[in-house]
C-alpha cells in the first residue's frame, strides 16, 4: 500500500512542484485579469481606478523622465536615515538597559510610558516643533522604528541562556569577550525580529510624513497626483511603497538567514 503511494508521488513530483510554485500566483493574476477586463469594458471608470495597462504605461513614462527615480531616491534616503537614527538609538538603549540593571531601573519605565503613545498622535506637536521640513519626517520615522528595535533588543538580552553565561564565566571570558561571544549572538534572533517589525513601521511613518507635507518623495508624488485626479500616478506610488516594503523585508530576511545560519530553524533549507 505504502509502496504504491510512494511510487505515484515520485512520478508526479515534478508536476506537483510546478503546481506548488504556481499556486500562490493564481489569485493575484486572476485579480489582475479581472481588473483589466473591467476597465476596458468601461465597468471601472478610470477616474475611480485606472486600468493595469495605464498604470504600466505611466510607470514607464515616469521612470523615463527620471521623475520617478528622484522621488524614490528621496523617499528611500528618508526611510534609511530615519531607520539608522531610530534603530541605532533603540539598539544602543536596548543593549544598555539589557546589560545594566541600573539602566533598566532608570530608563525602562519612562520608555514604556512613551511607547504607549501612538507615534502618529504626536504629529501636531511634531509639526509645531520641526515645521514641515526634513527633520520632521526624520523624527517621525526614527520614532516609529525606535521602539520595536529597543524592546526586542532588551528582551533578547534578558532571555540569553543563563547557563551559557555561567559557562563563559568559568572559561575565563572577560566582560567584553562574554558580551561579544555570548550575549550579543544570543540576543541576535530577537534583535532581528525587532528589525523586521521596525521596517514595517518605517514605511508607515514615512508615508504619513510625506502625505502631510513634502515637496518630493513618493508620498508627495501621490498627493500631487490626487490634485489633478491622476489615478494612474497614485496607483504607481502605492505600488512603489509595496515594492520597497517587500525589498526591505527580503533584505532583512537575508540578514536573518546569514546571521542565524547556526539556528536549527534556518537550516531546513540547506
Amino acid at each position: 500500500m505504502s509502496e504504491i503511494r510512494r511510487r505515484t508521488i515520485t512520478t508526479s513530483s515534478s508536476l506537483q512542484a510546478m503546481v506548488n510554485r504556481a499556486l500562490p500566483w493564481v489569485v493575484p493574476v486572476a485579480l489582475l485579469v479581472l481588473w483589466q477586463w473591467a476597465s476596458s469594458n468601461g465597468m471601472l471608470p478610470s477616474r475611480f481606478l485606472p486600468a493595469p495597462k495605464a498604470v504600466v504605461t505611466t510607470f514607464i513614462e515616469l521612470s523615463r523622465s527620471g521623475e520617478l527615480w528622484t522621488h524614490v531616491r528621496v523617499s528611500t534616503m528618508r526611510a534609511l536615515s530615519g531607520f539608522a537614527l531610530g534603530g541605532g538609538l533603540g539598539l544602543l538603549l536596548g543593549l544598555v538597559t539589557g546589560c545594566f540593571h541600573w539602566a533598566e531601573t532608570l530608563l525602562d519605565t519612562t520608555l514604556q510610558m512613551i511607547r504607549n503613545i501612538p507615534a502618529l498622535a504626536l504629529i501636531p506637536l511634531v509639526i509645531l516643533w520641526f515645521g514641515i521640513d526634513e527633520s520632521a519626517k526624520l523624527f517621525l520615522v526614527a520614532l516609529g522604528v525606535f521602539f520595536p528595535v529597543y524592546i526586542n533588543t532588551f528582551h533578547g538580552i534578558q532571555s540569553v541562556d543563563r547557563g551559557l553565561l555561567e559557562m563563559g564565566r568559568t572559561y575565563g571570558l572577560s566582560r567584553w569577550a562574554l558580551y561579544r561571544e555570548v550575549i550579543l549572538p544570543g540576543a541576535l534572533p530577537s534583535i532581528l525580529v525587532g528589525v523586521r517589525f521596525s521596517l514595517g513601521f518605517m514605511w508607515v511613518m514615512l508615508i504619513v510624513a510625506e502625505t502631510i507635507s513634502a515637496r518630493s518623495g513618493i508620498g508627495y508624488m501621490t498627493m500631487n497626483a490626487r490634485e489633478f485626479m491622476q489615478t494612474d500616478v497614485m496607483v504607481v506610488g502605492i505600488l512603489l511603497y509595496a515594492l520597497l516594503g517587500k525589498i526591505a523585508d527580503l533584505l532583512s530576511k537575508g540578514l536573518e538567514r546569514y546571521w542565524l545560519r547556526w539556528h536549527p530553524a534556518y537550516q531546513a533549507a540547506r
Binding site: 547557563g163 555561567e166 572559561y171 571570558l173 561571544e181 549572538p185 545560519r261 547556526w262 539556528h263
Partner: protein, 278 residues
C-alpha cells in the same frame, strides 16, 4: 567512535600494566564550608580533602548540595563561611574546568570554535587533536544543533580538555544520555583522566557510575559527608564483578536509608543509629 573503542583496548593494557601519573592534578581542600542558597542551608561545616590526581565521585539525593559544592569550587557560588583551596602545581595557576549536565555549547559557533572558546588562534591544532581523541574529528565544522546529545557532551569534554585542566569538575555530565552512550562516555572520561593525570570530581545520581569511575565515593547527606568509601577495585572495572555488586548494594542501601529519616523521624532515627552501629 572508532577512536574511543580502539583506545579502549590500549587503555585496558595500560591500566593493567602501568602506574598512573598523578603529577598534573591539583589537590583540593575544602574546610568548614557553609553555603546557604535562598535562605536554605545547603552545606554546613563541610570538610573534604581531595588528593592530587584522585578521581572522586560525589553521590547523594537530589538537593543534597552536591552540585552546589562543585559550583563553589569553580567560583559560581560563594560560601558564607569556610575556605576552598587548591594546592600548588608544577607551574602556573591550576586551571579548573567544569562540565555541566547540558553541554552548554554556544549554538552560534561551530564545533571547533566552541572547543577553542576563549583561546588564541594558535590553539586550533591542539583543538583538532582533542576532537580526534573524543572521536569527533569529522564534525569540527558542524553546528552544535545537528549533533546528538552524546556528541555534544564529547565536544564539551574536548572544550574542557583543551585547557589542560589540573582539576576537572563533572556535574552529572552523563545524566541526560541514553544507557549505551553513557557507557561510552564513562570509558572516554576514564581514559582521558588516566592518561592526563588531572584531578576529577564527578557529581552523579548513579551509584554504579560512581563505583565504575572513582577512586573514592563520597555520600553527602544533610549538608555533610555521610560516607567516604575508597574503591579498591582494579581498573578497568567490570560491572558484573561480585565485589562491584556488593559495593554497589552497600552504598545504594546507605543512600536510600536517608529517606526513612525524612518520612518517619523518631522511629526511623532509632533504626538508623542501630544500622550505623553495625
Amino acid at each position: 567512535m572508532s577512536t574511543v573503542f580502539a583506545s579502549r583496548e590500549v587503555l585496558t593494557q595500560k591500566m593493567l600494566t602501568e602506574e598512573r601519573q598523578y603529577s598534573r592534578g591539583v589537590s583540593v581542600s575544602i574546610s568548614d564550608v557553609s553555603i546557604a542558597l535562598g535562605g536554605r542551608t545547603v552545606l554546613e561545616n563541610f570538610n573534604v580533602e581531595i588528593a592530587a590526581g584522585e578521581f572522586v565521585a560525589i553521590v547523594g539525593r537530589s538537593g543534597c548540595g552536591k552540585s552546589t559544592l562543585l559550583r563553589s569550587i569553580v567560583g559560581l557560588e560563594t560560601p558564607q563561611a569556610g575556605s576552598i583551596a587548591l594546592g600548588a602545581i608544577a607551574q602556573g595557576k591550576p586551571d579548573v574546568r567544569i562540565m555541566f549536565q547540558d553541554s552548554r555549547l554556544l549554538p552560534w559557533k561551530r564545533v571547533s570554535q566552541n572547543v577553542t572558546l576563549g583561546l588564541e588562534r594558535s590553539f586550533i591544532p591542539q583543538a583538532t587533536k582533542i576532537l580526534y581523541q573524543v572521536g569527533l574529528a569529522d564534525r569540527a565544522n558542524d553546528w552544535p544543533a545537528i549533533l546528538s546529545g552524546g556528541q555534544r557532551q564529547r565536544v564539551a569534554l574536548a572544550r574542557a580538555l583543551v585547557h589542560d585542566p589540573a582539576l576537572l569538575l563533572l556535574d552529572e555530565p552523563l545524566g541526560a544520555l541514553d544507557a549505551l552512550t553513557r557507557i561510552e562516555m564513562q570509558e572516554l572520561i576514564e581514559s582521558v583522566w588516566w592518561n592526563r593525570g588531572f584531578t576529577a570530581v564527578l557529581v552523579t545520581h548513579d551509584v554504579a557510575e560512581a563505583i565504575t569511575l572513582a577512586d573514592r565515593v563520597i555520600l553527602i547527606e544533610g549538608g555533610r559527608v555521610a560516607l567516604d568509601e575508597f574503591i579498591h577495585l582494579p581498573r578497568p572495572r567490570a560491572r558484573g564483578n561480585a565485589r562491584f555488586a556488593s559495593l554497589e548494594d552497600r552504598i545504594l542501601g546507605r543512600v536510600l536509608q536517608h529517606r526513612s529519616i525524612e518520612t518517619n523521624e523518631p522511629l526511623a532515627e532509632a533504626v538508623n543509629e542501630e544500622a550505623d552501629a553495625h
